[in-house]
Symmetry: C2
Subunit: 128 residues, 2 copies
DNA sequence: GACAAAAGTTAGACATGGCTAACTTATCTA
DNA sequence: TAGATAAGTTAGCCATGTCTAACTTTTGTC
């Protein structure tokens, strides 16, 4: 059975928020807008949607935090993102292209496929 | 530079239309609706968009045809679809999952990545 | 501490891609 | 060939995700 999963928007946002908190100390709308290539009002609206979905906690004009469920989703997304990128790179694809393609592909990779990517990745290590 | 590409909707539609014409002799809205899991009015609306985009030719209540440019896009999409599916299968992923994941992944695979998939596929043949 | 600049929000518009209900056209069948 | 059924369309609604313009709040600087 297919469990209802978050939108690509939600996945990209929580992933990025987790990353910003880790590397910058906090997640701010300006940064998010720049990184995702959208305008600030778009970020405001989407963050409020994430809040409604229980993925994010925050009050107006302050930094953005992840709820436990947001954390969980973010970790899963980051893990998946890393695997997809590493897998593409293991095929000889340049980092830049791998990153760009992974940003879309990651949202369509089932658990089965993710595991297969992981396996193939392990194989590619042996052969080096 | 990134060339403006058709929407995923457009790609899925022309791909399916080409397939239906090949296997059924003609492409009809009911079939398209069933195959894509949407309702007939959605198909009507989207077909008219494809027509506006110059990918499709047709008059009301009649079957749907591809323009030359629609044909071209359809062929590219079908080719890409086949490669992605074959590649996933070559990783040991079951056909069903491969098909489902490919339906989304195909729209995010750059030319570079597609070529890499093709290469890896050739390799996997040698090792059998 | 005042005020300028930066960051963030609100309001309102738009495109895309879904849907249902109601209608029209085409096709089948007795 | 009439009437029933199937197929297709239209109208109007909704959710998502984007934008610009204008406003508010926060931050930094003198
Ligand atoms: Mn992504
Ligand atoms: Mn990602
Ligand atoms: Mn597809
Ligand atoms: Mn496809």
């Amino acid at each position: 059975m297919r469990q209802a999963h978050e939108s690509e928007m939600a996945e990209d946002y929580v992933e990025l928020i987790a990353e910003l908190i880790e590397t910058r100390g906090e997640a701010r709308p300006v940064e998010i807008a720049e990184r995702l290539g959208v305008k600030p009002p778009t970020v405001t609206k989407n963050i409020s949607r994430l809040k409604a979905a229980g993925l994010v906690r925050r009050e107006p004009y302050r930094a953005i935090f992840l709820t436990d469920s947001g954390q969980e989703l973010a970790e899963a997304c980051r893990q998946r993102h890393r695997i997809v990128v590493a897998f593409l790179c293991s095929l000889g694809i340049d980092e830049e292209t791998a990153e760009r393609d992974a940003e879309g592909i990651e949202h369509h990779v089932s658990e089965t496929t993710l595991v297969a990517f992981g396996q193939a990745l392990k194989q590619s290590w042996k052969h080096e």
